[in-house]
Assembly symmetry: C2
């Protein structure tokens, strides 16, 4: 195992410390490695909290800041955070208008966020929850009842974040988050596995000429293994199920997100984007917004995912609104 | 070789097409795969052009836009662009106030930019050139007489870009670019090699427990190979020569850039940043600005580089000024 780490048992702690130091104009570190928006909760604003196992950076701490999350809870590597730090984050995010938990659909995450929500309720903080499940690859999986939550989570966080920022109440922020989740679908591919530091060896084996279509962000099995194919063929295998599940028939405006798994060269993501966009346009779908880069990763895994969000005027305006976080930033 | 590509011979072309499509609000594509600022040259503004072999994305096309480059010239993978597209870029960037060529110090790049400058001169475009050579690892190298140009190039482009944007003339923009180059130093490490698509095999071999200290961004040999060490130890081996070469004695304000080589998890870059910052602070140096991420990469290479730029009020203000490019964006 070749990694730029000091000790497998301190990776998450040291990474959070380094991240917070590098972005001290945007975030602060709280107990339990919670990363919170600098300046504390905004009074009267709905708070947004997300979290999950580490190893998917910049998700979630990279999305804490104005226009997105108020706090993020990093669990151990590929491991759900426990209820205690989720409660710390919920209290830090509470400005008196309630808190939205944005939870990727993994059994451990869902359970622990639920427990934290009960603890928060006992402290008179109202919590609503949206469970993100955008991955069309598999119905149930290793860590999930129902579909997994993957790269679409970033779009839920961005769009709900702005709704909260403009003063929507908790039910309205929840509604827009649910709307994004209902209109977003993703699917990914792995060319290589990744190695969790404390495991010390790759989380699965892929032969030299083999790739995994429908991979999960923890290396969970996808739909099937196939021989290495061309970028255009692989992109079709990711995009087609997404388009089918969304029922796109032409005339829609969409946001196309091509997400790198961590170890993929930027040029390859551009090649995947190029073909996905052509294929969408050939179906009469307009790619109105685009995002290409490493947003929801699996350590050093090589691979990519394709995400499509069906836009309407409301979602487009919320997506375009200013955001100031470590990993997404525009101020128009 | 496992890559998300269609054909080794079309990688650069398809990557540029995809990149331009994804960022059509910021850039356009010209002949010779040149990527230029949307809207054309700004009349009366000094134009900024950079370029070099592909495979280092987001360098350079990711830095085309307001506050940085007017045009970027991607060569073939790890191969200098020829004079013709450099001339295309120079003409596209020319707003009547002259053009600055920002050239990383590699023999092929320097020669071809020189020829293009002569061709531009014949068309009455005044060209000045800054050669970036921030890599302290080796004096001469495989492709270089003198030190190589690496991640510090991004800071030259950012700071000179804003100087041009505010209306400085060609000699003034050149002077600030030279000042940045004089005050910036870098050094990198490789944990793994990378594979150039048309070569089909890794550009060098590293044993399972071996890393290369002082690596170049094309996988050129560095100072020495050593057994894998802890992140803190490796960071010291990169930072110490940088600090020494800059002659830092305490009291300085610096910008600390921890750059990923393409295949390094974000968490590992944060761990390197954490220690580099601690070590600088222990020497009485203030880390006033920070940048952590993949800016100057070597395809899927795992590794990182540490760059330190000594700041003064002028450089800090220029660095902080708005920028709107695909890979760096803030609008204050």
């Amino acid at each position: 195992m070749k990694k730029l780490i000091n000790d497998p048992s301190t990776v998450t702690q040291e990474a959070v410390e380094g991240f917070v130091a590098a972005h001290e104009d945007i975030v602060v570190q709280l107990d339990g490695l919670v990363v919170a928006r600098k300046g504390g909760a905004v009074q009267g604003k709905v708070g947004l909290v997300s979290g999950g196992g580490s190893g998917h950076e910049p998700l979630h701490a990279g999305f804490v800041g104005v226009g997105m999350l108020d706090a993020a809870v990093p669990g151990a590597m590929f491991t759900s955070p426990t209820p205690d730090p989720i409660l710390v984050a919920t209290k830090a995010a509470d400005g008196g208008a309630g808190v939205l938990h944005i939870v990727k659909n993994y059994t451990g995450d869902v359970l622990n966020f639920e427990t934290a929500a009960e603890l928060a309720d006992a402290e008179d903080i109202e919590v609503a929850t949206v469970v993100v499940n955008d991955d069309v690859a598999v119905e149930d999986s290793l860590y999930t009842a129902g579909r997994r939550g993957v790269a679409g989570t970033v779009l839920v966080e961005k769009i709900a974040g702005v709704a909260a920022e403009r003063g929507d109440d908790l039910q309205a922020v929840l509604a827009v988050a649910q709307k994004v989740n209902a209109q977003v679908r993703s699917m990914g591919v792995a060319l290589t596995a990744c190695t969790v530091p404390h495991a010390g060896k790759p989380s699965f084996d892929l032969a030299e000429d083999e790739i995994e279509i429908g991979i999960g962000i923890h290396g969970e099995p996808g739909r099937r293994r196939i021989p290495l194919a061309s970028a255009d063929e692989i992109t079709d295998l990711l995009l087609d199920p997404v388009v089918e599940d969304l029922g796109l028939s032409g005339g829609e405006n969409v946001l196309l997100l091509v997400n790198g798994m961590g170890g993929t060269p930027a040029s390859e993501l551009s090649i995947v984007y190029r073909h996905a966009r052509k294929q969408l346009e050939a179906r009469g779908v307009t790619v109105a917004r685009s995002l290409v880069g490493n947003y929801v990763t699996s350590l050093e895994m090589q691979g990519a995912s394709v995400t499509v969000l069906v836009l309407d005027d409301e979602l487009t305006a919320l997506y375009d609104a200013p955001v100031r976080t470590a990993a997404l930033r525009w101020e128009l």
